[in-house]
Subunit: 595 residues, 2 copies
């Protein structure tokens, strides 16, 4: 199934393709004719999943987006303190090509402006391998594939970079660069001329989001301290003189490049990359800024809102064979449910359904096997449902319905914007619905019998016709009205109750509140619990609708034991066998939350 | 029990009290003699819990910390667009009292510098109530108590605020302030002269952290959009010309005031406030900055690290009576455990144990009833344990031990820094340990018998001595070596096994892996599961240590049924009763995750 997140990105892409303001960077001949119909959006999660739309594999030069990665490499190479001696971390409030050196020390204001980025290059070690080889290997490790230098862009950069040459010499004059500035500048131009695509940039951004570990390859590319520092500087300095407006509108550490790329990072969760070559007056991609603002607002990525996202939104994902309802079905129905049960899955969510939780939930549902017909989202432990979650859950419902699949929710008190969707107050109710739906779709009419004759009770299956007839002759028949209590906690063993028609519900009293446990329907028995001894009935049993019962009372059983010990023996053996069938079902059930 | 977070804050407070650099603000006569031995730290969570240490109820003037709250009020009053017309959101890179107006439009760079804050006051509605009344009510609602104006500080501010008067007239000249600037300025001075304490500021900061809802009173004080914008501007402009260094070192939106107060906000989680009057050259509290840096680093609050915190760290908190082990105890031991079981609690955690998860876990443990002797932290669903969590868990262990209470962990693969603590691979193992510990402490020696005679088996309790002797005479005795398999999945019913000594473990095969389900010990039976029919044994049963068994084989039972149906009847009835005792235990168990 197509993920609603892919649908969302496709719509956004189509929408923003209409934005035609701005022009490609004119400063470098090799870049000024870039095709402004090209437009890509890519999003990589910290577990390595990439969503992409448009020209996400079209290559362009990385330009200034190289700066944060060079900065992280320098920080890892020589440590924070040594880097700080040469470079400040303050926003300059200036454009990318401003000089912004401290009047006294010559320290560039930060590593995201050109002066700072050139100084950064000079701080990267080139002892064991040529410096640019190390830089390229570093970017490649973050992208998760081998990147290449564009010779033509490099040649163009080197030919036209007069202002950067001036900056490099100025840095040399202050001893910020301590060696010959020419090779430093050449490596700076090379770093800017590395070719990437939007997918690469999304994974590079996700590597920052993931504390320096590349999400797809698992390689630790950068240290955590270097990542924290780099993202901090990106926060205040990544968008040049537009930093305040960017933080207000988008609220993510980011970096743009005049090549048309833009990355934004949601720490712990997501790397976002956009490519489109037409630039605004700040030197950032017009569609890149617009898409970032839209995605941040629609998906709730602004750091103020995103802060509460936990990663553990999906608590469990299991099919109903793993945790069946307490309804007892006929042997044929049980077999069918064992076979078809995997077609009904329950996904249990917890915490706040903001971006990360929603994304992982939507992905989980989208990637379910096509055989799954019924999807139940258990929302009982969800604290908050953000608008992105509401939108995506409704979208999931439509996409599933289009494939003749059904979405249902478990919500004790429904979230208002989800109240229109099929909902159940408990998981057990949802499982009962799923079982009934599967039996109706794939079974025969007799599998969910309205009524069951005593001779067809699973509990009595080991007995022969004569034994069953004898037992039935000892039973008393009754019809109980809806809501009437049949058994009360504390009662003595009153016999074995056979449900011939209708339903009963069992509940326990917890803190004065009746907590529903199970619904029993035709073909099931109850009352045996009280066998434990005097006053051992622990559950309350109530009729749900009108229930048709036959009871083999304690007195009748006592009479049978005296008059026909052989039949009584076979009866008790059948009951013991039946009990152990239930013990076993429960062991399956209760072992489940243990692992 | 004292919370380890209180201990941490007390240590930090004692430590930083030694910092004696800086001096109180000299610009206002009423403030210049502030006592620099005063020092308070307060931390308020979004659920309204306040940690505080030092002079947390000593009042001082709010000064510039009023600015974000005035800004939020203006945003709520007239909307973001109308405010943006008068005020930019860009960092100025200047000190707090710099002019920083746009050359063309006169717009102040942001609302956190004086010029912007004065302009902000002019944007606050004063239609229905005098403007300052509304301002004071707004701050009071955020603090959760009625705040007061200091007349003496206000008088001092009004007398000495020449530069601010100049700013106000300059703003008037650009039509940024559209009315008489004098009343605006007076309200600005009043706003700065509101008296608060560190606890108030922590709750005001927590109100921002909590999306505008005061955590203790539940009052919605500010709109979410206003909060998001305010925190954005605090991020880039809250610490004046120190913004980049602050974001790098602390990584939280913040605001300081020359009164000696400082707030920092971890969105979604926490408000932090510090008071100490000696200021650094930027005009921020020396101890305030130092404490913020330490707390952020120690507790992992930097936005890059904190982003992954979920609120749902505590999945469950229950005592062992709610989810007992599968060990079958004697009646006396069972009664004792029912009575004392609440003294052993299991706290199940999930997600990342970074600050928020750790704080809630530590609070949960600290607030446990003093009767709780055994605390089990179930870490199986924890993805990451940050250093704050390691430190706090070790601290919890020591504090519990000092009160003769015991901490244990459940970790399948122990986290390395927690490997030295008492750990169990499964919850069931931890519960078995807790039960054995409670029985050893509060019970008698016979409650955890090494061996149980057939006549003392709970399953056979309804039978008389003659029946039991008869059954025992039909049993075959065996001793099984450690690790030997006794029953295999798929086997037919082989009889009922009585464990006289030692232990056996049952496990199921899930995806080819044996998953341990229960440990059975002396006094328990097994094998009945296979009663279901041919090949119905579903679990593997293995000896744990050397097991001493007696088995009533299927053949012996068949002979008994023929030769002595009365005794066989009583046997099967006892087994059925026993089975239903287990069904009931399991219903308790499995109903638990349902609610």
């Amino acid at each position: 199934m197509r993920s609603p997140i892919d649908s969302y990105l496709a719509d956004l892409h189509a929408d923003l393709l209409g934005l035609s303001s701005g022009a490609p960077y004119q400063g470098i001949p090799a870049m000024k004719d870039a095709d402004n119909t090209k437009f890509a959006i890519a999003m990589a999660t910290v577990d390595g999943h990439v969503y992409q739309v448009g020209d996400a594999e079209l290559e362009f030069s990385i330009q200034s987006i190289s700066k944060p990665f060079s900065y992280a490499l320098a920080l890892d190479d020589i440590g924070l303190d040594a880097v700080d001696e040469k470079l400040d971390v303050e926003p300059s409030g200036d454009a990318f090509n401003e000089i912004s050196l401290s009047r006294d020390t010559g320290r560039p204001a930060n590593a995201m402006i050109n002066a700072g980025a050139i100084a950064t290059i000079s701080l990267i070690r080139d002892a064991d391998a040529p410096r640019f080889e190390r830089i390229l290997a570093h970017y490649s490790a973050a992208a998760g594939r081998q990147l290449e230098l564009s010779d033509s862009i490099y040649a163009s950069e080197a030919l036209t970079g007069h202002r950067n040459r001036a900056l490099a010499y100025l840095l040399r004059s202050f001893d910020i660069i301590e060696t010959d500035p020419t090779p430093v500048l050449e490596d700076y131009f090379r770093a800017c001329s590395v070719m990437v695509n939007a997918r690469d940039l999304a994974l590079m951004a996700a590597t920052l989001a993931n504390g320096g570990t590349q999400p797809a390859t698992g390689v630790q590319v950068m240290g955590k301290e270097a990542v924290q520092r780099t993202l901090s500087v990106m926060t205040t300095c990544g968008m040049y003189d537009d930093a305040g407006a960017w933080i207000s509108a988008v609220g993510l550490p980011a970096k743009s490049g005049v090549g048309g790329g833009l990355i934004a990072v949601l720490p712990g969760q997501l790397g976002l990359a956009i490519y489109s070559p037409a630039l605004d007056p700040h030197g950032s991609s017009v569609r890149g800024v617009a898409a970032s603002e839209r995605i941040s607002a629609d998906m709730g990525l602004h750091f103020v809102r995103a802060a509460r996202l936990g990663r553990s939104a999906i608590r469990e994902n299991y099919d109903i064979t793993r945790l069946p309802s307490h309804i007892r079905h006929s042997e044929a129905a049980t077999k069918l449910l064992a076979q078809y049960g995997e077609r009904a899955r329950i996904i249990e969510l917890a915490g706040d359904l903001l971006f990360a939780g929603t994304e992982s939930m939507v992905r989980e549902v989208s990637e379910l096997d096509a055989c799954v017909e019924l999807v139940v989202l258990d929302l009982r432990r969800v604290d908050e449902v953000d608008k992105i979650a509401v939108q995506m859950i409704h979208q999931l419902q439509r996409e599933l319905a289009a494939e003749s699949r059904t979405l249902a929710l478990v919500q004790e008190i429904p979230f208002e914007p989800l109240a229109s969707l099929r909902s159940f107050p408990s998981r057990n109710d949802a499982v009962e619905w799923a079982q009934a739906t599967l039996l109706a779709r794939h079974g025969t009419a007799d599998m969910v019998p309205e009524t069951v004759a005593v001779r067809d009770f699973a509990a009595l299956a080991p007995l022969d016709g004569a034994d069953i007839a004898l037992l039935e002759s000892l039973m008393e028949e009754s019809r109980i009205e809806d809501g009437r209590i049949i058994r009360r906690p504390g009662e003595e063993f009153g016999g074995v109750y056979f449900i011939l028609g209708g339903k009963v519900a069992t509940s326990t009293l917890q803190g004065g509140r009746a907590v529903r446990q199970a619904t029993l329907s035709a073909g099931m028995t109850f009352g045996e619990i009280a066998l434990g001894g005097e006053g051992e009935q622990t559950t309350r049993v109530t009729a749900v609708g009108r229930a048709h019962l036959k009871v083999l009372s304690a007195a009748s059983i006592a009479r049978l034991e005296t008059e026909n010990p052989g039949a009584a023996l076979r009866f008790w053996k059948a009951i013991a066998r039946d009990a152990y069938t239930r013990v076993e079902e429960n062991i399956k059930d209760s072992s489940y939350p243990l692992h």
